[in-house]
Symmetry: C2
Subunit: 266 residues, 2 copies
Amino acid sequence: MALRYDEIVRTGLARQVADLIRAAIMDGRLAIDERLPNEEELAHRFGISRPTVREALKVLAAQNLIRSRRGPAGGTFVTRPDPEGVAQAITDAATLLVGTGSFGREEILVARIETETLCCRLAAANRSAADLERMAAEIALQRQDGLSDEDFCASDVRFHRAIVTATGNGALRLMMHAVIESFIPVTNMLIHRDNERHRAADSHERILQAIAERDGEGAARLIRRHLEGLRGVLDSALERRAAARPPQVSEGEDRTSSDIPRHDDR
Amino acid sequence: MALRYDEIVRTGLARQVADLIRAAIMDGRLAIDERLPNEEELAHRFGISRPTVREALKVLAAQNLIRSRRGPAGGTFVTRPDPEGVAQAITDAATLLVGTGSFGREEILVARIETETLCCRLAAANRSAADLERMAAEIALQRQDGLSDEDFCASDVRFHRAIVTATGNGALRLMMHAVIESFIPVTNMLIHRDNERHRAADSHERILQAIAERDGEGAARLIRRHLEGLRGVLDSALERRAAARPPQVSEGEDRTSSDIPRHDDR
DNA sequence: GACTCTCTATTTGTCAAACCTATTATTGTT
DNA sequence: AACAATAATAGGTTTGACAAATAGAGAGTC
């Protein structure tokens, strides 16, 4: 008999338990909204302690696979995965990637241009009246004076999201969520200083018009031009910025003392 | 002085701690590869106990934000987010959504058609010789006789992934990962019964040819036809299936006893 | 002197047993 | 019948301890 030397497990118990339960959920052995045994029972069944079970459950809860409630009739339940939550998680992850500079500006810009162009075509074909209203409302907001940079950027995000929603395709929307939420801020942070805003709002207006008229090709052409216009502005803005302040390393002030918030000492 | 009545916190301590640390990582107050204080120290600083700190850290570890090592020079470190890991997480989440029927067949199919068409155009423009080789290798594999359904499907996935990779756009690749990995299996499970395979391989061959010749429009047209052909096959397959076995509710056998694997009782 | 081995200190991983707190079903009272 | 007190349940947290892994220092050997 061949003795296998790879049987011993080096991963943590909590990790293993989490993986087991996740697998059970993923392939349907645990149905949606099904109640898992309580923590003590789980600990006993797996032959581990309750804190370890809890670590495992926390991991799964962090991935939105389960939820817990206290009290009788409480317990741990398998959650129905909702597109919104998943989209949010994807966005967070993508934002982090973008933040660390995993992608180049050009990559992000090309991805935006191509995917949003596509969405415009589909949106023109499938948009509802409500979609048009939502987009028009954002444009009106963007035309207001005295809007803060953050508010303008947020409205911009919502406008582009509205286009995606107007495609009427949930699967596409899930993917695009990440693009819109995490790619736009990067491209927009430096832009819209002052009167770039009006040009952006005008572009949005024309795009809306084309989508309203069910002119998919026109809308696609317009948003492509809109985003490619961004590229020029972005490049020059970055150059200006680089010239203005030479490479600096963020001068960590009192980092070690303030990086973790301090509670009272009980 | 206005007393605020919404100050009391109803969320768990572990959750709060996780959120605080995540926020610190996200906006850069905790640098990549920086070492956090050890668990005891964290517990003391936050004014909570170590198991609670550990639950919080597990949550963050589940999101690939931190990693932990034992021993001296060990501890908890902020991880550099890697696109591969994020892509995998996105894929898992998307797979779950698809599995629960959150999206319709038509939605998924349209999303695939549109996004992959786009990728073909970009791939034709940017593909390298290595990309072409990878695609050719998969086609050769798909032409082999005696390939299992799983193996054929896996090769199909790799082929479509190769197209995405050939775009040379990492950001786009991240998004498409979810589409390819989680949308393809759904559309393919029922297909490729017997000799559909040859038609698929032929389609792949023509697409490769077009991409090799830098004919973006041609490649786009071909993959669109390829995927739209799938729609017909899929619809008829599903109808056949529905007719063959009437609505059944999966006859849970001994679910309650086997849903959670049982360890020995120590 | 250079190398290898062992030992130790540090840090995460796991455990046990208790207590706290939120939630709900039940019971009792009006 | 409606409402309020109460008990039971199950997750949330704490305390304190021990186990396991590992980097690095120090002892021993060639």
